[in-house]
């Protein structure tokens, strides 16, 4: 089993990218992720679900925060703080990396 990836510092210009070792599926409200290498699985909902899909290896963190703020009508500072927390957790689990 691979060790979890150490957390990284995310910046405005970072480009989060979903790992190809992750398979995903939706039942209803939750998106379930399974990491093929570690066997761990996760459920994302709401903004977490949206942010996950924006981790496309092309959008910067700045773009992601702007898109989520617009979609949910939320304060960008709050969205940024939430996104940073989520991205840190996702990278710690080896679910994303930085393509920038």
């Amino acid at each position: 089993m691979n060790e979890a990836t150490p957390p990284r510092a995310w910046m405005e210009s970072s480009v989060p990218r979903r790992s190809t070792a992750v398979v995903e599926q939706r039942a209803n409200d939750s998106l379930v992720l399974v990491h093929i290498d570690t066997g761990r699985y996760y459920a994302l909902e709401g903004t977490g679900d949206v942010i996950w899909h924006l981790c496309d290896g092309q959008s910067t963190l700045g773009h992601i925060v702007a898109a989520v703020s617009a979609q949910f009508g939320a304060d960008p500072r709050t969205v940024r703080a939430d996104a940073l927390e989520l991205l840190t957790e996702l990278s710690r689990e080896g679910l994303i990396d930085d393509a920038s």
């Binding site: 398979v23 599926q25 039942a27 093929i36």
Partner: protein, 299 residues
């Protein structure tokens, strides 16, 4: 091979070219004789048996004391080497190791194993999903005893090509009998075969006169049983049902794992799920029959 033949005596046989070849051969040093495939590997399981997947060749390698197996998925060929004087290893060859290789071959062909017992009424199926010890076998036998058809007590195969409704295919392997199962079904004691000391007693389903086998059904309810002081059925969200089903995904080929997860998602979306607390398994048929009313798909 006698162990394999006994396990699968309730399966339908088919003529023609086989879909897969399984060799079980005697060998004095199984692990040394079955070389590791080339390339990187992923450890899937190591607590009791070593189970590694080699993605470059699509090969599964299994090792335990006195036994080793290679499952080459692209060529659908399995080779199991076993020390023939080691009773535990010989039992693993016809049971767990055979099962793990067979499941991998089935997954690669779009038949996705789900750890669940399954019974049906007029072609509409209830799946009892959950870990070992949850009471799946006993509940499925209780329903079968009251006239329901039986598709399997531990594993069934699910096929879900959306937008078509999912289908459950039977996997009528030997029924494992716990002491509790035998308490509820004492007549099975005389039919069952005592396995090695570390295994449960088991009986091929076609040896039970009152058990009616079905080969296929439409899933109509997904039930997660647990022991409880009273019989109670509570709805479960499709999200929660999918989370419960995720451990069925085996982390071999990424595309196959995605399709397996897709199938579980389709099942969770299409079929209402419930948590079943139950103490008396014979209460299950009456409690579950209303779940099957009004759902199409009799086959």
């Amino acid at each position: 091979m006698e162990g394999v033949a006994s396990r699968f005596s309730a399966f339908e046989t088919a003529e023609g070219t086989p879909d897969a070849i399984v060799e079980i051969l005697a060998d004095s040093e199984p692990a040394a004789s079955l070389a590791r495939p080339a390339g990187r590997s992923r450890r899937l399981f190591e607590e009791e048996h070593e189970l590694d997947y080699y993605p470059d060749s699509g090969t599964l390698r299994l090792v335990d004391i006195g036994i080793a197996a290679l499952c080459d998925t692209p060529s659908a060929s399995v080779r199991i080497l076993v020390k023939d004087d080691d009773a535990r290893a010989v039992h693993l060859a016809s049971h767990l190791f055979f099962s793990l290789c067979l499941a991998e071959l089935l997954r690669s062909r779009g038949r996705y194993p789900v750890h669940a017992a399954c019974v049906s009424l007029d072609g509409r199926a209830v799946l009892f999903a959950g870990p070992s010890g949850a009471g799946k076998s006993t509940l499925s036998l209780a329903c079968a005893r009251s006239g329901w058809s039986f598709l399997g007590d531990d594993v069934v195969l699910v096929i879900a090509d959306e937008p078509r409704e999912p289908i459950v295919r039977a996997f009528p392997d030997e029924i494992d009998l716990t002491q509790e199962s035998l308490r509820f079904f004492p007549d099975l004691g005389s039919l069952s075969l005592a396995g090695p000391a570390w295994e449960k007693r088991h009986v091929p389903p076609n040896h039970i006169a009152w058990l009616r086998l079905a080969s296929e059904a439409r899933p109509a309810a997904l039930v997660f049983p647990e022991r409880g002081p009273v019989a109670r059925l509570s709805p479960l969200s499709s999200d929660a049902a999918l989370i419960e089903l995720v451990p069925n995904v085996v982390r071999t080929d990424t595309r196959v794992a995605q399709r397996h997860l897709d199938t579980l998602g389709a099942l969770a979306r299409a079929v209402p799920a419930f948590r079943l607390e139950i103490d008396d398994p014979f209460a299950a048929p009456g409690l579950l029959a209303p779940l099957l009313e009004g759902r199409a798909g009799a086959r």
